[in-house]
């Protein structure tokens, strides 16, 4: 994965939050880490599959309070399970668009998926993930890359 492309992807993803709330502090990145045990997953995940030299996914996992805050910022009058999931789907589309913009030339990008906590068990993620904690509006989220060598991949999450 080209580091410059990854930086673009990370930055434009953070910009999404910053633009929604120009009056709030911009999202802060905390120290990244590699996770070898169960990948970090919060209440929801917006997932995009990628394949190329390696195969795996990019995902943004968020809490319900963060999605609620995004809905409030968008002026949504109804805060319910339905609108929260709609918000998560919108994040999935943003993530997919950003991934295509940053990696589209070298990587195949899948249709985005939106998952709730109860769906995570069915998610086949690579065993080692590169995880970036994000803190924004008193909430946390994680931007995660999970890749594995294509030849040894488990069934792809792209399908």
């Amino acid at each position: 994965m080209d580091p410059a492309h990854f930086s673009i992807f990370r930055d434009i993803t953070l910009e999404y939050f910053a633009k929604l709330a120009p009056d709030e502090s911009p999202p802060a990145l905390e120290e990244a880490f590699i996770q070898f045990a169960a990948p970090v997953l919060l209440d929801y995940a917006s997932v995009v599959g990628i394949s190329g030299e390696y195969e795996g996914c990019l995902y943004l996992t968020t809490t319900r309070p963060l999605l609620r805050r995004l809905l409030e910022l968008q002026g949504e009058g109804e805060i319910s399970e339905r609108t929260i999931e709609d918000m998560c789907r919108e994040l999935s589309n943003v993530l997919s668009g950003n991934a295509t913009r940053a990696f589209g030339a070298q990587w195949k990008i899948s249709v985005p998926r939106t998952l709730r906590r109860e769906d995570f068990a069915a998610l086949l993620l690579p065993p080692s993930t590169f995880t970036i904690p994000i803190r924004w509006a008193s909430n946390e989220a994680f931007l995660v890359i999970g890749l594995q060598p294509a030849a040894t991949s488990a069934p792809s999450i792209l399908e």
Partner: protein
């Protein structure tokens, strides 16, 4: 040197039938440890393995693995150390069961040890002195074998080396991630590494994990690990 084997796709055949010890050996093959190390880890005798390895090879469920230079050097060092320990154990075993030849221990130049209190000479009434206990045999050191001190691989030093090589932090961190994508996740977790921050240190003493990390750094980044990443350990 003891060979390094890897499993073949034929080993995934659900119809595969092996004897108990053969399964134990087969499932221990990780493409990193030498045959001798697996034998030692499972506590098997050479006699057991004389039958197991040829049978697994004949069944086509394992094959000898091609090694990079770094992997060969690491595996050769391990085989040499294990071989030395084994030979020494066999030698001492033979000595213990061999004939009791008074004074023979002192016949090896430079092999004498200072007498312990329970080995102190006993004075007879006539003034002659008889050794109470024969001094323990101590073979000459084998050149290069050295004391049994395992070296520890410092992950902080490895990561620093990689980070220093890249123009920015993100590029360095992704390079480190690339290294660890290609290291057996279960081996990492077996060593208690469930997550890793780029600034933290872990001392790796597991030889299999050391070899896997060393090989991945070499294969994926084309870097050789210098002496500075190693520290003497227990």
């Amino acid at each position: 040197m003891s060979p390094v084997y890897q499993r073949t796709p034929r080993g995934d055949d659900p119809a595969l039938r092996l004897r108990t010890l053969e399964w134990a050996v087969f499932l221990s093959i990780d493409g990193v440890r030498t045959a001798l190390e697996i034998q030692r880890d499972l506590g098997l005798s050479s006699r057991d393995c004389d039958e197991i390895w040829p049978r697994l090879l004949k069944l086509g469920v394992i094959e000898e693995r091609d090694l990079s230079l770094a992997e060969y050097v690491a595996a050769a060092a391990l085989s040499s150390r294990l071989g030395t320990l084994q030979s020494r154990a066999e030698f001492l075993s033979g000595w213990k069961s061999g004939p009791d030849i008074p004074g023979s221990a002192g016949s090896v130049p430079g092999a004498t040890e200072p007498a312990r209190s329970d080995q102190a000479p006993t004075a007879r009434p006539d003034g002659t002195v008889t050794p109470k206990v024969r001094p323990a045999f101590s073979p000459l050191p084998v050149p290069g074998a050295g004391p049994k001190v395992a070296r520890a691989l410092s992950l902080k030093q490895v990561m620093k080396l990689i980070l220093d090589r890249y123009p920015d932090e993100t590029a360095g961190q992704l390079a480190i991630y690339r290294v660890f994508i290609n290291v057996d996740n279960q081996l990492l977790r077996k060593n208690g590494i469930n997550s890793l921050r780029f600034s933290e240190d872990r001392s790796i003493t597991d030889r299999a994990l050391q070899v896997a990390i060393q090989a991945s750094v070499e294969q994926n980044l084309g870097m050789h690990l210098p002496e500075s990443v190693w520290a003497e350990g227990e």
